[in-house]
């Protein structure tokens, strides 16, 4: 009786009943209506220790407690709201245990979608989206997808984050569809999500985006395509290099290198080497040349050897040191020794010193063997 008198609104009690009945937990062992009611009362207790105890024991309350907790989380009682949010986290964590009953996680995920409605507070909705990123599945994606169009930009972005986190084809499809429809910053954010997922299925919508007159749209689409590592495609439109400012040029170069790295991973070594060579021969920034050398040496040590040796003679110290390290770590054979000695003939004094260092390293390895 004392616990019941702590209720702030009868609505919470009704919500408990509705949630319990509607939770679809027939096949899953669920907390009883009375248990959930008692639990809610303890979450809203004036006593901190009581709230903490309820939070710790929240897990088994399961899906039935989600909707009423969502209401408390958005209420005026600050400490009860905080306790309710922590309890929701514990319910999501409990449902995600490897040994959880089949259907428990699905039930909690489904219940979380019910507190995405606009009647719930922004904090509650965003928390639910965050918890869905670690409990969600294909079935809940449509309700999250709908929030990509929410009038609150923060909520829409949280929906995007949630979709990015939920594994599976439904969330990916929602992001791909969203990429074609969303505008402004959200659209760019969806591109980054598709890049992080690195899913080939996203290629078409990203390729289409490279036609945009908005340079930012094109650059983000290119970065996402680079992360996917698509095969060469004539439909990909590159912006004019001279039309980009320095910062944009740097981003573009970074995307090229990233694409080359991905192509190398996929076994398309020639694609990768083409970019590495271009960067090595044309880039003005030493860090890009370093990246090209490192990428080339990893992807194709033999063809890259010539570039690595040439790098020993460059002015940039960082480039020279990368070249030295690559050579020292590679096996030195007679052919390579011969090429290094050839290079030595016409090298500047400082480059000769580096060549000697590499030859010594190879010699030491041979002696050690």
């Amino acid at each position: 009786m004392i616990m019941r008198s702590n209720w702030k609104s009868v609505g919470v009690g009704v919500a408990v009943a509705v949630a319990w009945i509607g939770s679809g937990l027939v096949a899953v062992q669920a907390a009883s209506e009375a248990e959930v009611t008692d639990f809610l009362a303890r979450i809203q207790s004036d006593q901190g220790a009581t709230r903490v105890d309820a939070i710790i024991k929240a897990g088994p309350m399961g899906a039935a407690a989600v909707v009423p907790l969502g209401q408390v989380a958005g209420g005026d009682n600050r400490e009860a709201s905080i306790a309710a949010q922590r309890a929701l986290r514990n319910i999501a964590a409990y449902a995600g245990r490897p040994e959880a009953e089949a259907g428990q996680r699905k039930a909690v995920a489904e219940a979380l979608t019910r507190i995405l409605d606009q009647q719930y507070s922004k904090v509650t909705r965003c928390l639910a989206l965050d918890l869905l990123s670690i409990t969600g599945n294909d079935a809940v994606v449509p309700k999250i997808d709908a929030l990509l169009h929410d009038s609150d930009g923060d909520v829409a972005d949280e929906a995007r984050r949630s979709l990015e986190g939920i594994p599976g084809s439904a969330s990916l499809k929602a992001l791909i569809d969203g990429a074609g429809k969303a505008q402004g910053r959200l659209r760019l954010a969806i591109f980054t999500s598709l890049g992080q997922r690195a899913a080939p299925e996203a290629a078409e919508v990203l390729i289409a985006a490279t036609e945009s007159p908005d340079t930012e749209v094109v650059l983000e689409a290119l970065d996402a395509l680079a992360r996917i590592g698509i095969a060469k495609d004539d439909r990909v439109k590159m912006p004019s290099w001279d039309g980009l400012n320095e910062s944009q040029q740097a981003r573009m170069a970074n995307s090229w290198l990233r694409w080359a790295d991905q192509r190398a991973v996929k076994g398309a070594v020639e694609d990768a080497l083409e970019v590495y060579r271009m960067v090595f021969d044309n880039a003005q920034s030493e860090h890009l040349i370093c990246a090209a050398l490192i990428g080339a040496a990893k992807a194709a040590p033999e063809p890259a050897f010539e570039y690595v040796v040439r790098a020993l003679g460059r002015d940039e110290n960082t480039v020279r040191m990368v070249a030295v390290r690559i050579l020292e770590q590679s096996p030195g054979d007679d052919a390579k020794i011969g090429k290094l000695l050839d290079a030595y003939r016409n090298a500047k004094p400082d480059t000769r010193e580096l060549i000697i260092r590499v030859l010594n390293a190879w010699n030491s390895k041979k002696l050690a063997l």
Binding site: H287, A291, Y344
Partner: protein
């Protein structure tokens, strides 16, 4: 240069001289002018530093650079808080360039390196973008907030061959070096247990949410962190007490104490096999880290256990040591050693300080000082003492401790694959999507 090196060099030289002709002078030491190059500082030139985040820890770095003008100079500052930016500019003096948006600072060609002292949730994005801009990086600890962030930082450093030093400066202290020599030379035998102690997490933050103040760009302060309403109790230094932004003492000072532990245990390239955590949430307020916490990490091959305990058991030997509110005791089969602190005020027992490493003993790398080590490595391109791989492994311990606590269950960890074994939900928590377009 060792005698072996000199011998092999002479052997090789005789062959190479025969190949290319006689009378070629070959110096043993690379002259300093070789280390200078267009766009890179020479051995005697000051490094030009850009500072991203100039608040609490950031002002400490500004002071360091200011009092070491022979090593470096602060040429550009970036902060999302206009008041902090103005105060930092006054501290630096002269006319550093000032930015609200760090991206503009990263575009500067005359910045050799950046020092990042922003809240933890920004560390990964700032560091990765700095590497992509060609800058070497000193970033405050902990390195990252998720396993995926740390690995992305390591990859960025490798892609562009950038030097990254993470601010676990305990490793650069004399006491940590002595303790490392003592342990690595077997003075306590085989270490089977490391027991960390640290005082409790703060509780509180009962002020209501409000609109952010005009001087703070809250949207940029949040950056990659998921949206939450502004609350003055949760920004700037107080970001530490929320799990997503700071992770509590285990991630804050735990990154110091456990960094020293991994250094002493020579375990920078591995991780635990299991992690378990207990602790009750706080009774009130927004701060959500458990006031008291216990995390147990088990390591395999070699086998040892580490305890992170708040408050933990204060060892008697720490009574007379400096900075002893936190630290770790290392238990071996023939003895034990206490190392207090873990950050700049690290201290250890007299027996370690007085220990002399034998001629054929183990001598770990000795840092000349955390900033100096970073500045040196910018020139030599060698790895600093708290390089990003080791820092990522340290932060991983802190992160996994919190994940185990949040999920309320034991985690079985594969330190090679960096995955939780048999727990899909836990694995989903190793990465979190960035807000807006902020991504790894």
């Amino acid at each position: 240069m060792s005698n072996q090196d000199r011998f092999t060099r002479r052997v090789f030289l005789s062959r190479s001289v025969a190949a290319v002709g006689a009378g070629i002078a070959l110096p043993y030491v690379i002259p300093s002018w070789v280390l200078a190059a267009p766009g890179r500082p020479g051995a005697n030139e000051r490094l030009r530093i850009g500072h991203i985040g100039v608040g609490g820890m950031g002002s400490g770095h500004l002071n360091y650079v200011k009092t070491h003008p022979q090593l470096a100079q602060s040429v550009a500052l970036a902060d999302v808080d206009q008041n902090r930016l103005k105060k930092a500019a006054e501290l630096v003096g002269g006319s550093p360039r000032l930015y609200s948006d760090f991206r503009q600072l990263l575009e500067l060609k005359d910045v050799d390196a950046v020092i990042i002292a922003t809240p933890d949730h920004w560390h990964a994005v700032h560091t990765i973008m700095a590497c992509e801009a060609g800058k070497d990086v000193y970033c405050e600890k902990p390195a990252c907030c998720t396993i995926a962030e740390g690995r992305a930082m390591v990859n960025a450093a490798k892609r562009f061959d950038r030097i990254i030093q993470i601010g676990s400066q305990g490793r650069s202290t004399t006491a940590a070096y002595y303790a490392c020599c003592y342990l690595r030379n077997g003075r306590v035998g085989k270490v089977s247990k490391v027991a960390c102690w640290h005082y409790e997490n703060p509780t509180g933050a009962t002020n209501p949410d409000t609109a952010p103040p005009p001087e703070l760009d809250y949207d940029m302060w949040l950056g990659p962190l998921r949206w939450r309403p502004y609350n003055k109790d949760c920004v700037h230094g107080n970001f530490r007490w929320l799990l997503e932004s700071g992770g509590g003492q285990i991630r804050d000072r735990g990154a110091h104490v456990m960094s020293v532990a991994l250094y002493l245990m020579n375990s920078d390239h591995t991780g635990p096999a299991t992690i378990e955590a207990t602790g009750a949430p706080p009774e009130k307020g927004l701060y959500e880290c458990p006031p008291q916490m216990e995390v147990i990490y088990t390591f395999k091959n070699p086998d040892w256990v580490m305890y992170w305990s708040q408050p933990g058991q204060f060892p008697e030997e720490a009574k007379d040591l400096g900075n002893n509110k936190y630290g770790a005791k290392y238990w071996g089969d023939t003895g034990a050693l206490v190392v207090s602190g873990g950050d700049g005020g690290t201290d250890t027992e007299k027996k370690a300080k007085e220990y002399h490493v034998p001629i054929d003993g183990v001598r770990p790398y000795r840092s000349p000082g955390h900033h100096e080590d970073f500045f040196n490595c910018i020139r030599t391109r060698e790895q600093p003492i708290m390089n990003i791989e080791g820092a990522h492994r340290t932060a991983s311990l802190c992160i996994l401790g919190n994940v185990a606590w949040r999920l309320g269950r034991k985690l079985n960890w594969d330190p090679v694959a960096e995955k939780v074994i048999g727990d899909e939900q836990a694995n989903l928590m190793l990465y979190r999507p960035g807000r807006q377009t902020w991504h790894l």
